[in-house]
Amino acid sequence: MSVASLDVESVRRDFPILSHCMRGQPLVYLDSASSAQKPRAVLDAMDELYTQGYANVHRGLYELAEWATSHYEGVRDKVARFIGAADPREIVFVRNVTEGINLVAHSFVRERLGSGDEILISAMEHHANIVPWQILCEQAGAQLRVAPIDDRGEILVEEFEKLLSPRTRLVALAHVSNVLGTVNPIRELIALAREREIPILIDGAQGVPHLPVDVQELGCDFYGFTGHKLFGPTGVGVIWGRLPLLDAMPPYQSGGDMIESVRFEKTTFAPPPHKFEAGTPNIAGVIGLGAAIDYVNGLGIRNIAAWEHGLLEYATEALESIGKLRIYGKAKNKAAVLSFALDGVHPHDIGTVLDQEGVAIRAGHHCAQPLMERFGVSAMARASLSIYNTRDDVDRLVRALHKTLELFG
């Protein structure tokens, strides 16, 4: 595994948007943790579907419909292999991780959660992995428990373990923090939950684009990720669940394409995954996701991780060389996400100055307000690095930050 095994210049040529300018300057895109850019292969796959093989899936009896259906279902097989699922029927296509979590909340947790029960999350969760549980808890009279983190941004494993109680009905954790970049020791945390037979869901939105994932090896019960952070289109994501669980779960949304037979007296539902895919799905999105997975597999997820890790080390050192800059999130095991603050400059002002310099970063609460509170700030600036970023990009970021300090100094 060497850094040289990813040819970044060739990767950059795969992404048409990178040859465009922002505010008249060559684009430096450092917001991939929010949404990644798309390689030509993904755009072409969707274009090919619409121009050469489009029809609705699971319905028509003609050639086009057969082609569309087999490609759509082919992506399910591909996703299953990509994340190490035991069976493609465990792959449910959803809109995004948010919908995947809501599906599990509605169809799995709701009926298990009673008054006095508990759901355990961590202090670094994205709102998507907080709010659905909060609502369920309120409805059931249950408690939302929060495992604390330390100042480096690592979950306090002993505290986490103490919070696992006989009343815990679900553990829901981020694989990787979208703000701190922390790669949580989920194997260890999952094992602690499983020892107590507590089901566990992993929010892999920030995990799958950066790390090899094998859900069977991890041992969790549900794992969700989204296409658009994996260089795929928006509006398509995956929630993986163990087949016996999915089998026993009631549908989430209902309608067409999720039934076995409908009579006015009684409807029986299709088996998973179709039970959870009511209505015409995001066909082009799924095809695009398949192309994105091919693209990632072509580069090799380990090569991607190595490239990003090298870049993270370079960027961390470069940012730390700026006086008045503070990095949030210093976990030992960290993905290529750098959240920071500049003394005396609000993150939104940083964002605007950087924008003028052609550098796109995220500034705000990052859909993690409780985490902002944990660090005593209302917002942070965040640069996230991906396969198409280079040391030059980091240098431009640093120069733009110096400019920011000059302006506000």
Binding site: R23, G344, H346, H348, D349, M372, S378, L407, F408
Partner: protein, 153 residues
């Protein structure tokens, strides 16, 4: 850098660094909190108004970006001694200045110092920053204690 200076005028940078009337009035008879859920910026405006709704004194506290802090600061300077009607009318003008087309000349002599925010027109995402304090001031005058910016400017 020139475009940035257009947005971050010296006056704005100065008010951001040393905001005026940055305090909570002890004898306030009106107050409102302004909150921008998009960025998490939060500020509180406290007012002392007379029987005719004329602002005798005004202060603000809170944290925000340079645009929202400077806008709140300059707003408090402006609002002192003004009637509710004058404030509402000026807010309307100010809002028009911020949301006007960038191609039209941004001349608003009647706005005085408030015109330094004309550069915000180039940054539609930042309009809410410049108006947060004004929305809170308006809410305080209307006796609404909480104001959350939800609508798109």
């Amino acid at each position: 850098m020139d475009d940035l200076r257009e947005l971050y005028q010296t006056t704005i940078l100065d008010h951001n660094k040393s905001p005026r009337n940055f305090r909570e009035l002890e004898d306030a008879n009106r107050r409102a909190e302004g909150y921008n859920p998009l960025c998490g910026d939060k500020l509180t405006v406290t007012l002392l108004v007379d029987a005719d709704d004329r602002v005798e004194d005004v202060g603000f506290v809170g944290s925000g970006c340079a645009i929202s802090t400077a806008s709140a600061s300059i707003m408090t300077e402006f609002a002192k001694g003004k009637s509710r009607a004058e404030i509402e009318e000026t807010f309307e003008r100010f809002h028009e200045l911020l949301t006007g087309s960038p191609s039209e000349p941004a001349e608003a002599p009647e706005l005085g110092k408030l015109a330094v925010f004309a550069g915000v027109r180039e940054y539609p995402l930042r309009v809410k920053c410049a108006t947060l304090a004004w929305h809170a001031l308006k809410a305080a005058l209307e006796n609404r204690e909480e104001m959350t910016l939800v609508k798109t400017e």
